[in-house]
């Protein structure tokens, strides 16, 4: 961590206004830092609030959500900026790729124009020039016959191609940070690998930082240097991907790893984590994983364990893990 990081999220919390009145807290005490060109994976089951995290950074939270804490990016706290200034950051300095390629593109606008629009809007290029650059971008994301395909409409493309258009759109202005919210979840496996390749090559080529949100540990392992494990809106563990995957400190991370389906020789049942992810309104007292944690002890339910740094570059939210590490 040399000098000030590109992005530093500190004590971020997001709560939602309920339709019947009242507030419900989703993200609690989320924090991490990211240097220029670095890659960070955010992994967690669905319903852990990881997508909300990426939207919070982009400043695109739904109307009913309010975020507190700080998100320092290139020296400015994004949460404090008004919408107009945020608009100058979005797309230009931070690009985002969404999960659902089928609905993420405007059905009534040609693919080329949707890519070119960012260029026209931020850099004031003429549509002619912007469209030409859009064709180049389509080439870069390896879409065949880019010139012709630029004039076609989204419904004439497969899911994989549309996701590549999404990537082209996000990196049109060469932003410093790319956020990919489960980019390959909706794609079938073969297309997944190809899309990830493109994303990785272009990221390297333009030296962009990347936050990859996913529930698939394989994708995280392949793409990200560091990883944060999320559960019930909290960060449970953080560290270099290799360490987190091989020496998980938090019992939840261990459970997560065990649950990855592997070919079993002994014909036994696949391992699962007992119980199911509790709704945010019915969290157990103390540690949020305490109701399902095999290594639970009485203290776990006393109070929510604080975020601790066992060694440089690692973080964990679990009193048992700290006790283990101390020995």
């Amino acid at each position: 961590m040399t000098g000030t990081p590109l992005l530093s999220v500190e004590n971020l919390a997001v709560s939602m206004r309920l339709p019947a009145g009242g507030q419900m807290q989703i993200l609690t005490d989320v924090g991490f830092a990211l240097d220029a060109g670095e890659t960070l994976g955010v992994v967690g089951e669905s319903g852990s609030g990881k997508s909300l995290l990426s939207l919070a950074i982009m400043g695109l939270l739904p109307g009913a959500a309010t975020a507190t804490g700080r998100i320092m990016f290139e020296g400015r706290d994004l949460l404090a900026l008004d919408d107009d200034t945020l608009c100058s950051v979005r797309g230009k300095r931070v690009g985002m790729i969404f999960q659902e390629p089928m609905t993420a593109l405007n059905p009534a606008m040609t693919v080329g124009d949707q890519i070119a629009e960012g260029l026209v809007w931020h850099e004031g290029l003429s549509w002619k020039v912007a469209r030409a650059q859009a064709v180049e971008l389509l080439d870069q994301v390896r879409i065949a016959d880019a010139r012709r395909r630029a004039q076609t409409y989204p419904h004439e493309m497969s899911g994989g191609q549309r996701q590549r258009v999404g990537i082209a759109m996000a990196l049109a202005l060469k932003p410093a940070l790319m956020i990919a919210d489960e980019p390959t979840t909706a794609l079938d496996v073969t297309v997944q690998a190809e899309v990830l390749d493109i994303l990785d090559d272009l990221r390297r080529e333009y030296g962009m930082a990347l936050i990859l949100v996913s529930h698939d540990l394989g994708v995280i392992a392949r793409m990200c240097a560091r990883t944060v494990v999320m559960y019930a809106g909290r960060r449970m563990e953080e560290g270099p991907t290799r360490d987190v995957l091989t020496l998980p400190l938090n019992p939840y991370s261990r459970g997560l790893l065990r649950a990855v389906p592997k070919r079993r020789t002994d014909g036994g049942k696949l391992d699962t984590i007992p119980g199911s992810v509790p709704g945010f309104a019915r969290l157990p007292p103390g540690c949020c994983f305490s109701d399902r944690c095999p290594e639970r002890i009485a203290d776990c339910q006393e109070a929510e364990p604080a975020w601790a740094i066992p060694t440089a570059g690692r973080g964990v939210r679990c009193i048992r893990a700290m006790q283990e590490f101390a020995r």
């Binding site: 608009c87 100058s88 405007n106 009534a108």
Partner: protein
């Protein structure tokens, strides 16, 4: 896609034929003899017979229908019994009032409804939303001819700003003719604007939460730009459908407002033709309305292809 259009066209022509048969039979069954009406109460039987022959009313139904339809196909719509002039000319004359009035009303309706509808959708459940809902409900609830009445009373009688009615004719100067159409256009536009606002609001709401609007925001477009460049264009299909319906209604249904502003429009022509049992005019006017409705539906269908590329299938 061409096959689709051709099939659509043939079914429309079939409908037109059915309408022509229906109107012919209805007009024939209606009580009242045009000749007696034209010659008044003290006409003698032989003069009545002479007129009926002159008008060709004494021929059997089928032959009259064939003659009329033959004429329509070749563009000769026959002569009006009462006015004695070709019906085509009459309709054209009246269309020069009804068409601009309908267009004027549609423009006003769009000018009011689209911004109001989009604003109330963008700022849902806000003051704007409730105000727009109330105003549009009010416009729908108030009878159009009643609004026309009040407009005349306020703007022409007491304030004297506007002419009270009548139509100086386009040769009499573009400005004065448009002035004559302003109040009636407003009276026609308000109820339509009410309906259009509600349709626009629900159409935009439908699209506002779609992912591609969020993508546009992620590209750095401010809220307004994302709304107008991405959400609204995708909400136009239902809006255009309503506009199509409203346009044909404005042509066919404006008779009440035409009465209040005594504009020589198509509606009044039909109303007078019915009272005078000017059968040939009635048949031609109703057929004209039906053709207009059908053409309008066809245009709206075509616009769907334009507005929603997904319907176009492989475009290149």
């Amino acid at each position: 896609m061409i096959v689709l259009l051709l099939r659509r066209l043939s079914s429309l022509l079939l409908t037109l034929l059915a309408v022509s048969a229906l109107i012919f039979i209805v007009m024939d069954v209606l009580p009242g003899d045009p000749a007696a009406i034209m010659l008044g109460t003290s006409a003698s039987p032989d003069t009545l017979a002479a007129l009926r022959h002159e008008l060709g009313l004494d021929q059997p139904l089928i032959i009259r229908y064939a003659l009329w339809l033959g004429g329509v196909v070749t563009g000769d719509l026959g002569n009006s019994y009462t006015y004695g002039v070709p019906v085509a000319g009459l309709i054209a004359e009246r269309l020069a009032v009804t068409l601009p009035l309908a267009l004027f009303a549609i423009v006003l309706s769009v000018a009011i409804a689209i911004p109001l509808g989009v604003a109330s959708a963008a700022r849902r459940n806000s003051a704007v939303d409730y105000a727009a809902a109330f105003v549009s409900q009010l416009f729908i609830a108030v009878p159009g001819f009643w609004v026309g009445l009040l407009l005349v009373l306020v703007f022409s009688v007491s304030l004297g700003w506007m002419p009270s009615g009548g139509f100086p004719g386009w040769h009499g100067g573009f400005g004065s003719s448009l002035g004559a159409l302003l109040l009636p256009a407003i009276a026609l536009a308000l109820p339509q604007a009410g309906v259009l606002t509600r349709v626009t609001r629900s159409a935009v709401l439908e699209v506002l939460n779609d992912d591609f609007v969020r993508t546009a925001r992620a590209k750095g477009l401010p809220r307004r730009a994302a709304l107008w460049r991405h959400a609204v264009p995708n909400a136009l299909v239902p809006v255009v459908t309503i506009l199509g319906l409203q346009f044909t209604f404005l042509i066919a249904g404006a008779v009440l407002v035409e009465n209040v502003f005594n504009l020589p429009g198509l509606g009044r022509l039909a109303f007078q033709a019915l009272t005078q049992r000017d059968i040939i005019v009635m048949q031609d006017v109703v057929l004209f309305f039906a053709a207009l409705v059908i053409i309008m539906n066809f245009i709206v269908d075509l616009s769907y292809l334009y507005l929603d590329p997904r319907l176009r299938g492989r475009s290149r």
